[in-house]
């Protein structure tokens, strides 16, 4: 076995969170197989100088050589162009595996690499081990289905094997202090006109200063049990008092009660608050996978058999239309007294 290549996305001079997770994942596999691992970083020509020191810093994560793939044609993100750069690095080495973070962009780029090279690819992998001690032959992997509510054990082969790491399942690697810097090798990426057909041409900055659902410390959520779009006013009011963001289940968006930007779930936003107050939500898998990173869940629901109670830290059995206004009134009373 000759080595592993990790696709790293930099943010502010260091690997971003999901890249640090991919580095940790690769480190585990490389250690078990006794091989070295390299990294590939793709940057535009103008940014290559600045990326060089960040690339060298990947030595702290155990990376031997960083392939810094650059081209003047990589000035704005183009999935196929990034894939061309990575494919060039893959073709020049004899890597057994390419491991990418589970971000939207890295997943998309690796799928392009897989398509260009005709190799299989496994997305959202949580663990991987070669079946042979020397790392040759097929790998046994475990990957997520249904956004993690189901796991699949599968066999992945390929030259190289291509996989992305499921977000927030493995710990992010921490850089070791005093480690030797990685060797940085500049590679010129071969980007064609065809690779630039789909590319970023601009950015729309989100307006408004509402609390972001994905970053909120407290989230108040409403589902089918709210019964109408008007009933969400009581959640807005409670959220306002608690400094919380409002989220909703899929049914609340598909009924048109609330915009999709507020949807928590497999096809919406994943939340990770300290407290999630789930009102009139039964707890379909679609919703639960978006809320499972919440530290505590307070459930308010009439049906004590609803699946969401299996995830609840605290529960109030009752109708949200009566319970939520009572809580709001009590919060006001306590705040007034304080």
């Amino acid at each position: 076995m000759s080595g592993i290549l990790v696709l790293v996305e930099l943010a502010g001079g260091a690997p971003d969170r999901l890249s640090a997770e991919a580095l940790g994942f690769a480190g585990t596999v490389a250690k078990a197989s006794g091989v070295a691992f390299d990294a590939v970083v793709v940057v535009g020509g103008n940014d290559a100088g600045a990326a060089e020191s960040a690339a060298a810093g990947l030595g702290g994560y155990g990376v031997g050589t960083v392939q810094l793939a650059t081209s003047d044609r990589l000035s704005s993100f183009a999935p196929a162009a990034w894939a061309a750069a990575v494919t060039g690095v893959v073709g020049s080495g004899s890597y057994d595996a390419v491991i990418a973070p589970g971000s939207d962009t890295a997943t998309e780029v690796l799928a392009h690499v897989a398509a260009r090279t005709g190799q299989p690819m496994a997305a959202n992998v949580v663990s991987a081990e070669p079946r042979q001690p020397d790392g040759s032959g097929p790998w046994r992997i475990t990957r997520q289905r249904w956004a993690g509510s189901l796991l699949e054990e599968a066999t992945l082969d390929g030259q190289p094997r291509l996989l992305t790491v499921a977000p927030h399942v493995v710990p992010a690697a921490e850089p070791a202090a005093g480690a030797a810097p990685a060797t940085v090798a500049r590679v010129v990426a071969d980007v064609t006109d065809a690779d630039l057909r789909a590319r970023v041409v601009g950015r729309d900055v989100a307006s408004g200063d509402r609390i972001s659902l994905s970053d909120a410390k407290v989230v108040v959520g409403g589902g089918r049990g709210m019964g109408s779009s008007e009933a969400f006013a009581m959640l807005d009011e409670l959220a306002g008092l608690l400094g919380a963001a409002v989220g909703v289940s899929r049914v609340a968006t598909s009924l048109g009660w609330r915009p999709h930007t507020q949807q928590i779930g497999q096809t919406g936003t994943r939340i990770a608050p300290d407290l999630y107050i789930a009102c009139g939500i039964s707890g379909a898998i679609q919703h639960i996978v978006g809320a499972k990173s919440a530290k505590r869940i307070l459930v308010i629901n009439t049906d004590p058999e609803a699946p969401i109670f299996r995830r609840a830290t605290y529960a109030v059995i009752g109708d949200v239309h009566a319970v939520v206004p009572a809580i709001t009134a009590e919060v006001r009373r306590v705040k007034g007294a304080g």
């Binding site: 398509a115 989100a206 009572a326 919060v331």
Partner: protein, 254 residues
């Protein structure tokens, strides 16, 4: 304009997944089936674009004979034609799926002309491979972008928006192109009764592709070990409010 939308039949899992005895599939005996959510929005987007621009829309799926139901769901909301690539219902890996779809697109285009736009879901709800649309685009040598939540077509150029932290990245790509959409790009309509009746009468164009496995190969499915919470009951009805507020204070929320 001609638009092809690809969909996948998936079980509506509700609150709990139960595995079948073979350990390689979900027990679907008591479950309904739906079009995977991102693709349901792909269907709606195709219908809207054809309503605005004129032309023909086609929906295609690879799946068991019963997947004709999901094609009829799409026909019921305004898609013109349904194409079924019928399988024996076994698991098809992403490479095998993409190969069969590519062959089928080539066949459809040879017969009736090229598609200006092929819409796919960003990822299927069940297997979540995140790659079939991209493999199809690369095989057909067409530009592709995925994760799209807003789409406009003007003068042969698609302008597509992908949600990123703090806003949207705007992509441009010339047609013909492949676009992977996400739920939220639109709110799919419900089929009308006449729409359902019309869909029931339409012929589904069916063929049986050859399965060319490429991997990864599914060995078995497992339910993740979940630590089920033992909830502390704070009370029943509005009388629970004082205890709830006490907990909010303990947690430092208030």
């Amino acid at each position: 304009m001609r638009i092809l939308v690809l969909v996948k039949r998936v079980p509506a899992t509700g609150g709990r997944i139960v595995l079948a005895d073979d350990g390689r599939s979900i027990d679907t005996r008591f479950l309904g089936f739906v079009v995977s959510p991102h693709e349901e929005c792909g269907v709606e987007e195709a219908v809207r674009l054809i309503e605005a621009n004129g032309g023909e829309s086609v929906v295609m799926t690879l799946g068991p004979a019963e997947a004709a139901d999901q094609l009829r769901d799409a026909l019921a909301v305004g898609i013109d034609r349904g194409v079924l690539l019928e399988t024996d219902g076994s698991d098809w890996d992403p490479l095998a799926t993409a190969t069969a779809l590519t062959e089928a697109v080539r066949r459809l285009e040879a017969a009736d002309g090229p598609f200006d736009l092929i819409l796919v879901g960003n990822e299927s709800a069940d297997s979540g491979g995140f790659q079939v649309g991209i493999r199809l685009a690369v095989a057909l040598d067409r530009p592709v972008v995925t994760g799209i939540k807003a789409l406009e077509i003007n003068d042969g150029v698609a302008t597509a928006r992908r949600q990123v932290s703090g806003g949207f990245d705007i992509y441009e790509l010339p047609l013909p192109a492949v676009v992977g959409v996400r739920e939220g790009i639109n709110l799919p309509r419900y089929p009308s009764v006449p729409g359902r009746l019309r869909a029931r009468k339409k012929e589904i164009e069916t063929s049986s592709p050859e399965k060319v496995p490429g991997g990864p190969t599914l060995d078995r499915l497992m339910l993740p070990v979940e630590q089920e919470a033992q909830a502390e009951i704070l009370g029943h009805g509005p009388e629970a409010a004082p205890r709830v507020v006490e907990v909010l204070r303990e947690l430092g929320v208030l």
